[in-house]
């Protein structure tokens, strides 16, 4: 791009949307518009506030809850927060009602709802729930957050795999298969080579292989992508179960990888609350901290991302500017598999230390839910995965201290939230326009 002299002469050339009398060109068809108001958000808030009212005030419990904020090794020990259950419930419900009112006002005056509103609403609701559920008990917040991060890791890797693949126009139901094959391959390769690094690479390779099958069938043979995804999930379950039963049980040496060491990051790991939650993990988790922002940046700021999004939105348009749509789709789906496969390695090389039958236990589907709830955006999907991870961690914590809510209901939460999201009650989810449609070149 040459920077010739006219640059200075037309600094505001882009602000010429308004037509003036001298510029008949700018006249465009603009139809009259009636105001449309979307009442879904305030209605949802109102319903949730009512739920909160019933749960936290009407069905409130006596006593107070201790939220432990400190953990061993913090550079400054925070005191425990002791919150009275009933009072906290009342305060939160009042605040929730206020937020609902704000939301109603925003819609009534046709203003944009910021992201802060659902965030504040969610945090308040969760705090009230914690206090309510933990009445007369102690809830260790750092432990809860540590578990949240841990449980979110495979979800986030899986969701990133989903985001990349779907942004490129290939529906990735096979996240579960990518995770499971990654877990299997990571365990076997790390055990047989004695190298965790090779194990990680092996896990990524397995994810890539699953992805490539998906890509070949979806892109080359135009098979309905949902079908390939579902079948791949079944296939990998069958394959890993078969190999586990026929090979691994007979040769335990093939299924005893060295687990990756936890590497606390000196200094910042002593920050209260978030230090242990974020900075006492294995390399896989640190890799996640890097990969997520890199994907987000790459998707929206680089040539790779521009082309990736283009082939997922309007492949023919991309083709007419010389982009090899199907080739690009293929390699990006493969990349998605590598990322998800890395998430699979987390199961065997980080948490468990051995492969087990169907050890991903449907987490791939939760990752898929996070992709959708996160509106196909890497950061939002990560937030969704963290939310789902939190629900899971909460269920474990409450299970340990004796929960008033059946753990199954907590486990159901991600799916119910996603159902509400796809039904349009929470947020606006719009998939990449060409996602799921094969591009058939003439």
């Amino acid at each position: 791009m040459t920077t010739q002299q006219p640059t200075a002469a037309q600094p505001h050339a882009e602000t010429t949307q308004q037509p003036t009398a001298a510029q008949p060109h700018a006249e465009t068809i603009e139809l009259e518009r009636a105001v449309v108001k979307h009442w879904k958000a305030p209605v949802s808030y109102a319903v949730l506030t009512l739920v909160a009212l019933v749960l936290f005030v009407v069905a409130s419990r006596d006593g107070s809850t201790t939220l432990r904020l400190a953990s061993v090794g913090d550079f400054v020990a925070l005191p425990d927060a002791v919150l009275p259950v009933r009072a906290t419930g009342i305060v939160v419900v009042v605040l929730l009602a206020a937020l609902t009112a704000v939301s109603t006002w925003l819609v009534a005056t046709v203003r944009k709802q910021g992201f802060w509103l659902p965030l504040a609403f969610g945090v308040l609701f969760v705090v009230a729930f914690l206090v309510w559920a933990g009445a007369d008990k102690m809830i260790p917040i750092p432990g809860l957050l540590f578990a949240t991060v841990g449980l979110s890791v495979p979800l986030i890797f899986g969701a990133m795999g989903g985001v990349i693949s779907e942004r490129a126009g290939v529906v990735n139901i096979a996240i579960e298969a990518q995770l499971l094959s990654g877990a299997f391959s990571g365990a076997v390769i790390a055990s047989s080579t004695g190298s965790a690094v090779l194990g990680i690479l092996g896990a990524m390779l397995a994810g890539v292989l699953v992805s490539m099958v998906l890509a070949v069938f979806a892109i080359r043979y135009f098979v309905e992508q949902v079908i390939v995804g579902v079948v791949l999930n079944v296939l990998v379950v069958g394959l890993t179960n078969f190999l586990y039963s026929s090979v691994l049980t007979a040769n335990p040496a093939l299924n005893s990888p060295d687990r990756l060491p936890r590497i606390p990051i000196p200094g910042i790991e002593t920050i209260p609350i978030i230090g242990p939650a974020l900075f006492e993990h294995t390399v896989i988790v640190y890799a996640m901290f890097i990969i997520v922002p890199v994907i987000a940046w790459g998707l929206f700021k680089t040539t790779w991302g521009l082309r990736l999004r283009a082939i997922g939105e309007h492949p023919l348009a991309a083709d007419t500017v010389g982009i090899k749509v199907n080739r690009l789709r293929f390699w990006n789906v493969a990349l998605a598999g590598a990322v998800a496969g890395l998430g699979g390695a987390y199961f065997t090389l980080d948490t468990t230390g051995a492969f087990n039958r169907e050890m991903t236990a449907g987490l791939g589907y939760i990752a898929l839910a996070a992709v959708i709830f996160g509106q196909w955006h890497p950061l939002k999907a990560t937030a969704a995965a963290l939310l789902f991870g939190f629900a899971s961690a909460l269920q474990q914590t409450l299970g340990a201290i004796g929960s008033p809510v059946p753990s199954e209901f907590m486990l159901m939460l991600p799916y119910v939230i996603t159902l509400l999201a796809v039904a349009g009650f929470i947020g606006q989810s719009r998939a990449p326009a060409a996602s799921g449609k094969p591009y058939i070149k003439q």
Partner: protein
């Protein structure tokens, strides 16, 4: 990708080759080489193609579902054979004797080859004996010779019913991946009617099954209603509903006073009373119960429903071209809900059969036994037709029956069946791949002659038109 240029009329229309008949001049006469008429409509929309309507425009003749349904018998047989070969390779590769002999393959290749033969033939012979005829037990009498066959029918019973559910939804353009959740609810409802009420023998089991069918229908109907009235994609909602159902039923099974067996601590329901159990057709030792005839009946009902009834006519119209159905006055939203309700009803039948026929000693959250997912493969192999689904269900029932014997007799894990099933579906879904493997002509070439004929016909009619 360096594909050979496909015969097609308009690059603007990426799905063009899928048009039935593939005739490039199906658009506009006289020569009608490209079809601008249909494309101009797309341009008219000034907004981004995001809603369902424009998605239909992209693919006016619904190519995906025709591909699903377009399988033929030869392809099915080849796909099954190829998948069995893949399974055989896996069996051989994991066999210990094969691994040992592979160490000195170059010294004595015969050892390994014979080991491979022993492993694979042994496994598949066991599969056959477990699924069709048990020669080993022939000396114990005819009954024991053919007992495996009835086991196959027994395993096929819920597969057929659930497969019909998937197939019916496919025909309306819907994926019902929610078989698991629907079966769980059906099983729970059926079992509840079974152990919580006392009724006369035959009536009891009928009521239990009907309530199960209704429960499955309702759970699928939720996904249908979400699809129709909020646009939520049924693939996502049925998957999510599976998990919701799983955790909900799990909770009910471990909560006293709900589904838990009184006096027990395990998450399992009380056993079914005699009155709520489908009786065995032939009596012991055969386990085959009357549920199988219910499945056959379901096939007949489904066939009438899809092919002959006016509801089926509307279903198929919606499945092929929802937009045209809408213009013809059909209530597409309501039909979507009906389709999911009926699809769930067949799933519900499968769930009810499980608790009233297969597992009568109390059920757990694993009662679906993967049938909800197997049903997808059954429907695909069956080309989404009722009788195709029936035979596909029989085949997969045979795999299941034989798989257990294979595991017991030859130590080959039963999971190999899942692998073989998955490969069958993958191959079925991609006929060009199978054709390439067997060196069969690709349809592009075959139909080119067909196209020539059609073009000649078109030219003839055109001439006639010009003369008149």
């Amino acid at each position: 990708m360096n594909e050979t240029p496909r015969d097609a009329d308009d690059p603007i229309e990426p799905h063009a080759p899928q048009r039935p008949g593939g005739s490039p001049d199906s658009g506009a006469a006289p020569t009608a080489v490209h079809a601008p008429a249909e494309a101009e409509v797309q341009v008219a929309a000034p907004v981004a193609p995001t809603d369902d309507r424009t998605a239909d425009v992209d693919d006016p003749w619904g190519s995906a579902f025709r591909r699903i349904m377009g399988g033929n018998l030869v392809m099915a047989v080849l796909a099954i054979l190829t998948s069995l070969v893949v399974g055989g390779i896996l069996i051989a590769a994991t066999d210990e004797r094969v691994q040992e002999t592979a160490g000195y393959f170059f010294a004595r290749p015969g050892d390994m080859l014979s080991a491979v033969w022993t492993a694979v033939s042994g496994a598949y012979l066991a599969l056959f004996q477990g699924a069709v005829l048990n020669f080993a037990a022939a000396d114990r009498g005819f009954i024991y010779l053919i007992k495996p066959l009835t086991d196959t029918l027994n395993f096929a019973t819920p597969l057929i019913a659930a497969g019909l559910g998937v197939a019916l939804a496919f025909r309306v353009g819907l994926f019902n991946i929610g078989g698991r959740g629907q079966m769980l609810w059906a099983a729970a409802a059926s079992a509840w009617v079974g152990f919580a009420f006392q009724m006369p023998p035959i009536l009891h089991v009928i009521v239990a099954i009907l309530v199960g069918i209704a429960a499955g229908a309702i759970w699928a109907g939720i996904a249908g209603a979400l699809k129709a009235y909020t646009g939520a994609h049924e693939v996502i909602s049925t998957i999510m509903l599976n998990f919701v159902a799983f955790w909900f039923i799990t909770w009910m099974l471990r909560t006293p006073g709900l589904l838990q067996n009184p006096g027990g601590n395990n998450p399992i329901s009380p056993p079914m009373p005699e009155t709520a159990i489908l009786p065995s057709i032939f009596g012991p030792p055969f386990v085959l119960h009357w549920g199988f005839l219910l499945s056959v009946l379901a096939v007949i009902v489904c066939a009438w429903l899809i092919n002959r009834s006016n509801l089926g006519f509307q279903f198929r119209a919606v499945g092929y071209n929802a937009s045209a159905a809408l213009n013809a006055g059909m209530n597409v939203k309501r039909l979507t809900v009906y389709a999911m309700l009926l699809s769930g009803a067949f799933m519900g039948l499968a769930g009810a059969q499980q608790v009233t026929g297969a597992v009568t000693t109390g059920f757990t959250a694993g009662i679906d036994a993967g049938i909800g997912f197997d049903a997808i493969t059954v429907a695909l192999l069956g080309g989404s037709t009722p009788w195709g689904t029936f035979f596909a269900g029989l085949l997969f029932g045979a795999f299941k029956a034989g798989g257990f014997r294979m595991q017991a007799a030859e130590g080959v894990p039963v999971d190999i069946i899942l692998v073989v099933q998955s490969f069958i579906v993958l191959f079925i879904a991609a006929p060009p791949l199978v054709r390439a493997m067997f060196g069969l002509p690709q349809p592009g070439r075959k139909s080119r002659r067909q196209r020539r004929d059609e073009a000649a016909l078109a030219a003839m009619t055109q001439q006639k038109g010009a003369q008149s």
